[in-house]
Amino acid sequence: MEEDLKTSAKGQILSIRDLPTLPKVLDEVSKLVQNPNTSIEAIAKVISRDQVLSAKVLKMVNSPVYGFPGRISSVQHSLVLLGFNVIRGVIISTSVFDIMSKSMQGLWEHSIGCALATGLVARKAKLKDPEEFSVCGLLHDLGKVVAAVQLPELHKAVGEAVRSQDLRWFEAEKAVLGFGHDRINAWLADHWHLPATIKEAMGSHHRPERAQFYPLHASAAHVGDFIVRVFEYGSGGDDQAVPLSEQALKILGLKLGDLDEIMDGFAENLGEVSSVTFGPEDDAPVPGKA
């Protein structure tokens, strides 16, 4: 019975009709990438055809979330520096920006704050490709948006449970839906063919010690989520700290004291990161070159 509910909820959540639409170029690019002979130029060319999208990508990759000192002025350059997985995550996040800021107040701020914090965690832990960790933070709560869009009444009931029983959003989801956004995240990651690293971070950021294949990604996103909540930048749907997994810090090779430097970097860059939004009024191409 319970399984039936989950299956039907999964069907409803993934019913493509209502899923936030991703730009068509993403499909095209995903196909190109499957061919190992595809050049970066070819991918960049397809993305650059969509000028609004290119401007959004450049705005995001030039924010302190990714921490590149110089200005990245072209899509091709961003692909070389950050790789396609990161750019794909950036495209997905900018595509759901509107729907995210409308469906859950503060969730965009929470997500971009988590991206900043997760990237800082990865840098402190000296992990390779910290930008990919930033994307894990950026997308860690995507399931909440999709649930809000696809299951609006249940989404409302989750919000009510948060307020009336003083639950964290994740706990309320499990009480109301029987499963959390971590599960929805994993479905979405499959549906959108996201890389396994990002999928595991999205699916296991609430219990990183149980991540099977990429515990570093899950742990970094977990600690990033903890930090953005301590600073209360934006909102993941409730106003509580999440239990910090001691094991996650251990997996990352970090001590509690290592959080200090991460929090310094977070507070310092928050102002600039907060200006990264993608509303209709923000669609003007960035100065320089798209």
Binding site: Q105, G106, E109, V162, R163, D166, R168, R229, V230, F231, E232, Y233, G234, S235, D238, D239, Q240, A241, P243, L244, E246, L256, G257, L259, D260, M263, A267, L270, G271, S274
Partner: protein, 108 residues
């Protein structure tokens, strides 16, 4: 000015826009400072979003504000490890706040 859900309203915040009834009649004027009892009253009236003065970034970046919020944030986390984590954060933000205060005095 920013629009926030009532659940994130805190005493001391100021209303940036008046609170009105569905028909537009104002009940509480802009500029009014929120208190615990006023927030409860708004909750009772079914208000779920309000406009407040200031910006979220400043509140997040202010270490004194963080110190004040820790007990609230950790209200359901009291196991030994989380108690240790909270103590660490309190020290961190207290030192930051003190450093800010010193910098402000030197400037002023």
């Amino acid at each position: 000015m920013q629009k926030i859900p009532l659940s994130l309203a805190k005493p001391g915040m100021k209303l940036a826009k008046p609170i009105t009834k569905a028909n537009g009649m104002p009940i509480i004027a802009a500029g009014m400072e929120l208190s615990e009892s006023l927030i409860d009253k708004l909750d009772g009236m079914g208000i779920d979003k309000i406009f407040v003065v200031g910006d979220a970034v400043a509140a997040s970046q202010n270490p004194s504000e963080r110190v004040l919020r820790l007990d609230h944030l950790f209200r359901r986390l009291d196991d030994p490890y989380m108690t240790q984590v909270k103590r660490h954060l309190r020290e961190y933000f207290t030192i930051k706040a003190a450093a800010d205060a010193v910098a402000a005095t030197e400037k002023g």
